[in-house]
């Protein structure tokens, strides 16, 4: 069973309501593929990553309030939707998000040069995913002038070609427009006509006209809250009508059986004798949005309505005044935006230069980290404040790194040695590319090469190797709180440095595996809870206090290079156990 979310701009809050309902009552529906366009793709991604709904709601409300703040609403020059979205995604999406969603998330994009629809589902890196999501949310003129590139080709909002990508017959379609979708608002109108725009059926009714205007112009928080509630109710009604609500135990039984037979009919039989199912269904009938989400909405509503400023702004005279002063405010706004953009650009170039200089001085593994920064996209205009913040952060990091370097000469030596053995001038190339941060795709190639060249002891195949050759000391299976099956096996690896792991033949095998492009995505994607933190040693954790999770990961890898250089498997020092969870 697949899900498909329609693209709908700021109406996307409806999807949040639907997501809450699915998480609560039909988690089994979230196991399949989820597709979407525009905001639908974002919600699909959040659902697949199992992000906390409360934070997502807060973030959506934040975007909305930013959009409503400018003089021309979302069209104000100082509001840049792409930037705002990117910030949100950087903040909330986990660092291995591309592994989680590859193959499951299907993003609908419109190719700019021929207007054809493209559905993307494989994302080799996190940046790829973010870029695809941004491209899928790009409405020309509204978001910027030049559409972003994804793998070198310019794409824009999938809503222009296929707004509701349907993957197969058993796709549940979710759309915030009243029309012929599985989950959609049912308006109190029996309008006979509906149109089919970009694969989304939209009834020609007054409410839908109103909704259409809301795609780009976000409404007040009250309306958003109602929309979210409506999404929850509609989803619940759909689940109820199709008998998809049952207790967790019955669900488990169902899903075991569904593995074998092909689902051709979508009606679920629920066991009428199961008392738990009955109560569950009855509870669902009277249920409403969870309190966590409701309080967030309530806070947003309060902050928009209470306070003396809001009261003044609500007065009729004040409203006319704001309308009348619009011609004066808009040029000021434009000037301000241009100014901040210019200054921020200048600051950013300085920041880059500074970073390069610092790296030449310190010559650390941080080169890798900075290369990976990749925060600017072609269409985004940066904001001054953020650039300044990053600059100061960078300074701190550099200082820290510098201090550390003076401490630990020996380690640096080992690292340099490692660079030499790696050869091919790849590191140098990396240094050089520091300046050219926009050419992300090229950089990615180098990055990927480095990754495969190192025979990293910490990699997945190493663990796979150990697990396949050794008997587990202890293995146990359990259902966690979200009814996911978890498996934990504990291995003894104290003698892992013997032939069982490191024999030349096996190294060859491993290498072959590595160059096979298919394996890594799938295998790692399956293993969601691959716990890097647990394998970390304290020294490393200490040193990276300022870095974001991803760069931390890089640093740790380079660390282990230097260790393996001494031909001593890291597993030895880390302690006798690998835990595979």
């Amino acid at each position: 069973m697949n899900l498909s979310f329609a693209g709908c701009g700021f109406l996307g809050i409806y999807h949040v309501g639907v997501a809450v309902c699915f998480k609560k009552y039909a988690p089994h529906l979230l196991l399949g593929k989820i597709s979407g366009a525009s905001f639908g793709a974002l919600s699909a991604c959040c659902l697949l990553c199992d992000l906390p709904i409360g934070e997502i709601t807060t973030d959506v409300l934040r975007v909305v309030s930013e959009a409503r703040a400018g003089s021309l609403g979302p069209f104000s020059p100082s509001f840049n939707i792409q930037n705002v979205l990117l910030e949100g995604m950087q903040k909330y999406l986990p660092h291995d998000v591309h592994k989680i969603v590859s193959g499951k998330l299907h993003i609908s994009l419109t190719r700019v040069y021929d207007g054809k629809n493209v559905i993307v589902s494989e994302f080799p890196t996190r940046e790829d995913l973010l870029q695809a999501l941004l491209a899928s949310c790009f409405v020309p003129v509204f978001s910027g002038l030049l559409p972003p590139r994804f793998h070198g080709i310019r794409y824009m909002d999938g809503g222009f070609s296929d707004n509701l990508p349907v993957l197969d017959e058993n796709t549940i379609t979710v759309s915030p427009f009243c029309g012929e979708s599985d989950i959609c608002p049912r308006d109190l109108s029996s309008q006979l006509f509906h149109v089919n725009l970009a694969n989304t059926s939209i009834e020609l009714s007054k409410q839908n006209m109103n909704r259409f205007a809301r795609i780009l112009f976000p409404p007040k928080p009250e309306v958003l809250s109602n929309m979210c509630k409506q999404g929850f109710d509609d989803a619940l009604r759909f689940l109820h009508r199709n008998n998809m609500i049952s207790c967790t135990r019955c669900l488990a039984v169902q899903s075991t059986f569904q593995l074998q037979d092909v689902l051709d009919d979508t009606t679920y039989e629920y066991d009428p004798d199961c008392e738990e199912c009955k109560t569950h269904r009855q509870d669902a009938l009277v249920d409403d949005l969870p309190d966590t989400v409701m309080t967030i909405f309530q806070n947003a509503i309060d902050s928009a309505n209470n306070g003396i400023v809001n009261w003044v702004m609500r007065q009729r005279a004040m409203r006319y005044l704001t309308l009348l002063t619009l011609p004066y405010r808009v040029p000021i706004d434009i000037m301000y935006a241009t100014f901040t953009n210019c200054v921020a650009d200048r600051v950013e170039t300085h920041a880059v230069q500074y970073k390069v200089a610092a790296n030449i001085l310190v010559r650390k593994k941080r080169c890798i980290r900075h290369n990976n920064y990749m925060t600017r996209f072609v269409t985004c205009t940066p904001k001054m404040s953020k650039s300044l913040w990053k600059l100061s952060l960078n300074t701190l990091q550099q200082l820290h790194g510098f201090m550390y370097a003076t401490h630990d000469r020996s380690e640096a030596a080992a690292r340099i040695y490692y660079k030499l053995t790696m050869g091919d001038g790849k590191m140098d190339a990396n240094d050089g590319r520091q300046l050219d941060r926009r050419r992300a795709s090229e950089f990615r190639i180098t990055y990927g090469d480095m990754r495969t060249t190192h025979d990293d002891v910490d990699t997945f195949e190493h663990i796979l190797n150990v697990t396949s050759h050794n008997e587990a000391l202890l293995a146990y299976y359990y259902l966690d709180g979200e009814n996911k099956m978890k498996m934990t096996e504990i291995y003894d690896v104290t003698d892992a440095d013997t032939d069982a792991v490191q024999s030349p033949m096996e190294r060859d095998v491993n290498k072959q595996l590595e160059f096979d492009n298919d394996w890594s995505g799938e295998l790692i994607a399956d293993d969601d809870d691959f716990d890097m933190e647990a394998m970390d040693d304290d020294a490393l954790a200490d040193r990276n206090i300022f870095s974001d999770p991803e760069s931390e990961w890089n640093a740790r890898r380079s660390m282990s290079h230097s260790d393996s250089d001494g031909d001593q498997p890291e597993s030895d020092r880390r302690g006798p156990y690998i835990e595979l969870a």
């Binding site: 009243c178 109190l188 109108s189 029996s190 309008q191 007054k206």
Partner: protein, 400 residues
């Protein structure tokens, strides 16, 4: 009557036919229809049935019949608003396998005549019912299974209320006009001014005004706003992407008389002035009814439950077809055909009203009364269309 072209409709525009904004042409419509019907595997006949002066002066109803030699109870199909009989093409073969099947263009739609209907909702409805009844008399059917989709479902129900003895089984596919218009004072207050302004401006216009107003771009407009319909015909009709929009456009670019009548029937935004829910008790309680809904349809399928409660489970069957929208017959043709055929076989098994001998007169006498009309098999210019040679020389048949 009997000519392949409905000549009357080609008369008189104020430019004398030299300039046609809508690019409407009867020849085009006929050809497109033939192209769509070429996908049928069963032999079919197409003909005009002259029903005399029911609404206009001499009204004709365009009919297609399949397998009319079969002795079983025939099935009559009434299409929905803005459609035509050719749109039943995914279903006709399956239905005709067991019984005679007739599909008509409702008066005021498709290739039938387009007289001016009354301006009163009840009268317009009665005119439609009368036209179907006259048609039945001309075609000489004693009893039939009546299937109506959307607006056709409304007319079928109205027909079954008036002539219950003629209907063996009533099948309603996503019928329009059942639910009562809810009091929506609250909803009005919520909508912004501009939405209300647009709605008020559009209200007096006929539902498909935009298609005609677009003129030469009408076909393009149809194909852009409803690409889903043509896509669903892809498995049946060769180059459906051009043929189906053309057909829908040609059906609706003529004088919109059926559309106006439909506009008279409705109030507000698509609600019926006289919803069928109020008149459910006028339906013969013994008449078996099957209601088929699409699960995604916007037609409120809770009305199925109301019908069920109102009439009891003995002879009412409500079925929701999963994954289908308003065009149930098209979205899930196999399931739809299956359910309709099941309904038909129920109708064949027994007529619950047989015992009551409700039929007032034998059908032969009922049919003999309308004066000098020849029997239906000869009075219509019949186009025999075996599947191998669909372009039978229909025009060459002399008009009677």
């Amino acid at each position: 009557m009997g000519s392949e072209l409905n000549l009357e409709s080609a008369e008189s525009s104020w430019t004398g036919g030299w300039f046609s904004w809508t690019r409407q042409s009867d020849v085009m419509l006929r050809n497109v229809e033939k192209k769509i019907l070429s996908c049928l595997k069963t032999a079919y006949k197409r003909f005009y049935v002259d029903i005399g002066s029911v609404v206009g002066q001499s009204d004709k109803i365009w009919t297609i019949s399949l397998n009319d030699e079969s002795p079983k109870t025939p099935l009559v199909l009434l299409h929905g608003m803005g459609a035509g009989l050719a749109l039943w093409c995914p279903n006709l073969d399956a239905f005709a396998a067991t019984r005679p099947v007739y599909a008509i263009d409702l008066l005021g739609f498709g290739r039938s005549s387009r007289p001016k209907f009354a301006c009163d909702a009840m009268k317009a409805e009665a005119q439609w019912v009368e036209s179907v009844e006259e048609w039945r008399r001309e075609v000489n059917l004693a009893q039939f299974i009546l299937l109506g989709h959307s607006l056709g479902g409304y007319i079928a129900t109205a027909y079954a209320i008036k002539y219950p003895e003629r209907v063996r089984h009533l099948v309603l596919a996503d019928p329009w006009g059942f639910t009562e218009r809810p009091a929506n004072a609250y909803e009005k207050a919520q909508l912004p001014l501009w939405v209300r302004a647009v709605a008020t401006a559009v209200q007096p216009l006929n539902p498909l005004w935009a298609v005609r107003a677009a003129g030469p771009a009408g076909r393009w407009l149809v194909s852009k706003t409803r690409p889903d319909i043509s896509r669903k015909y892809n498995g049946y009709v060769p180059d459906a992407d051009t043929v189906i929009p053309e057909y829908i456009y040609q059906c609706n670019s003529q004088t919109p008389s059926g559309e106006s009548a439909f506009h008279t029937l409705m109030t507000g935004f698509g609600w019926a002035k006289n919803p069928m829910m109020r008149r459910l008790d006028q339906l013969d309680p013994a008449l078996p009814i099957t209601v088929l809904y699409g699960s995604r349809s916007w037609v409120d399928n809770s009305s199925g439950q109301v019908i069920l409660e109102h009439r009891g489970h003995t002879n009412t069957y409500v079925q929701v077809i999963n994954g289908a929208g308003h065009h149930v017959y098209l979205d899930k043709p196999d399931l739809f055909n299956k359910f309709v055929l099941e309904a038909c076989s129920r109708a064949d098994m027994r007529d619950p009203r047989d015992a009551r001998a409700i039929l007032p007169a034998p059908p032969s006498t009922a049919q003999a009364t309308p004066s000098s009309q020849a029997p239906p098999s000869t009075h219509a210019a019949i186009e025999q269309a075996p599947p191998s040679e669909p372009s039978a020389p229909a025009q060459s048949t002399p008009p009677s």
